[in-house]
Symmetry: C2
Subunit: 401 residues, 2 copies
Amino acid sequence: MTDRGITVPLGFRAAGIHSGIKRRRADLAIVASDFPCAVAGVFTTNRVKAAPVRYSLEVVGRGQAQAIVANSGNANACTGAQGQRDAAEMARLAAEALAIRPQEVLVASTGIIGQPLPMEALRTGIPRACAQLERAGAPAAEAILTTDSGPKTASTTLEVGGSELRIGGMAKGAGMIHPRLATTLCFLTTDATVSPDCLDAVLRGAVARSFNRITVDGDTSTNDCILILANGAAGGDPITGGAALGRFEASLHEVTSDLAEQIVRDGEGATKVVEIRVTGAASDADAERVAYRLANSLLVKTALHGAEPNWGRMMAALGSAHAEVSEDLVQIHIGSAHVVRNGLGVADSLSAATAELLGTEVDLHIELGLGEGEAAVLTCDLSEEYVRINGSYAAESGVVS
Amino acid sequence: MTDRGITVPLGFRAAGIHSGIKRRRADLAIVASDFPCAVAGVFTTNRVKAAPVRYSLEVVGRGQAQAIVANSGNANACTGAQGQRDAAEMARLAAEALAIRPQEVLVASTGIIGQPLPMEALRTGIPRACAQLERAGAPAAEAILTTDSGPKTASTTLEVGGSELRIGGMAKGAGMIHPRLATTLCFLTTDATVSPDCLDAVLRGAVARSFNRITVDGDTSTNDCILILANGAAGGDPITGGAALGRFEASLHEVTSDLAEQIVRDGEGATKVVEIRVTGAASDADAERVAYRLANSLLVKTALHGAEPNWGRMMAALGSAHAEVSEDLVQIHIGSAHVVRNGLGVADSLSAATAELLGTEVDLHIELGLGEGEAAVLTCDLSEEYVRINGSYAAESGVVS
């Protein structure tokens, strides 16, 4: 059974409908709180920012919000002044229907870039969606998808000072996990009472250890955003710091990690999830460079897809990662198979390595033998299917254009 | 008719045979000069360097050589001390057969990483190949290929001080042009008289404007090398600088550009060659970052493959290139179709853009409107075929392993 996600916390309702941006599939989601919320957000660092990102950045800057209106099928990016007006109108339409202020409505969009939003569809769709708000999370989680194969939701509970608190979330991902141009949207809700500043701090912490391990970081799409709303509906003392905030962050991390992993698992055309762990690097930064280099290598990704234990490509990739590497200290493990010992292939490990690669979850461990630096990255393989999907995006995503 | 390439210059002979490293195809090439040559080389900067690269670096360091022995089907990389001994033995075998010193034999290998070289095949193969040296270049050009669809040769002539001089070359490439992990080998010959220092300078200049525009640069395979031998067989005055050296460099650039373009054209699974030109950047470095970001973007490459004028992906890619970008100053042209004007899509340009993308040669021009920075990169599209080839490399390249 799918987790209700964003409606697990008390006082949140959601809706997802087909407004007409896409041909058939749901394309419009509303998440609304019964009470004003503290808000925090992490946004794309792309120099080209979609209109809804610019709008929501301002809302988050004020620290308070009560609803999210999000559409799929159209990114409202590279749409100029008209795009800004359209994002603002989306917020206004939702605000009117919910009887709140437009300054308290976050806006998010994902889909094709450079087309004007079909506002006619949204002018009737947004009020209609707001009239359908309910304590179910599934329709909203469906409505933000693009090429995803299914909705992604997660939730958890924790106890702080005798109060039970809830955290829920939903996300969309798909697209290739690297390079990081596919849009990630993630909306998180909680019925805890947390100030915007504390919320911002824990969100950044949780994102650094989850989404930033897969996709949303320095190089992102025009539309990426991760938003969290805290409405305090559970009662209980405000979480202001110390152990309580630490536990809240841990629980939030549980939800964001779960969602991030669901995104990798659903990478376009992906047939396996690959964790690349690098240890023994001269520094954490070096370890990260090596992990990302492998995760980004087309040759490594296609070998993983073909279940070929081609550790030579891994050696070539790590050698070109601009990190300190001493060839004869390198160890590579594919699952339990020790395929490279001191820089040299271990011939009798290859059938065990192939067996590991035939699974749908693969652990790749690179030990550089130089120091204490560590990093881990989650990625997926690269299949013909990925190319097929991305060679005909408009057709796949069912966008009317 | 295929250019004779490396045997166009006087005093060079070559051979290419099947020694038994691969199942069937030619896998061993010899290029030899009748006279001692000045030598220069540009090698991979990968921290993991193949044994032949280490060997040839030393030869080039001494500035003099007379022959190249090169094999395909096995990279002799990540092969430890045994690999070093094998590379040295290849040089020794060729030197004995040619009655020269092993210190004057350059060694190059390409193929699978981490397997010991099948020295039995080479111990009989190298003397046999040396006995077949002739003024034809085609067999040698065939013998260095891996997944290339055909040999790559080029040559030109120039006149300096009344003497006709010749420059010839052969190369192998294939593999994906970006990321830059596929091995590039390029051997160049000339009958001009040029000192090792001058040769080094002009080679670096020519490579910077040809191979470095496509593949061999900071991030390279374990085995990349570009070598040039100058034997002075044409007579004439030594080229030591000034206008003569300038003309020699221009002619060398003609040959390396030709070979580099042949490599892109033969990218694995490539169906079109794409030139990405960036102008109006705040700096040349910024322009290069934007050009490479687009050339490396899977989403851009798959859209090019599908002939989709998806300029939104281009905007997203250039915005994440860590370069100065002002969204509303950006112009994008696909061939003659002006698809983005001041950061906004030009709707009625799309059918013209699609027509451009259906061709096999595509020009992409990004104008950033900020300054005088410029760069250009040659790349190719990404097809299902690429994934198929690289998911089963051993099978494709006919390697016995």
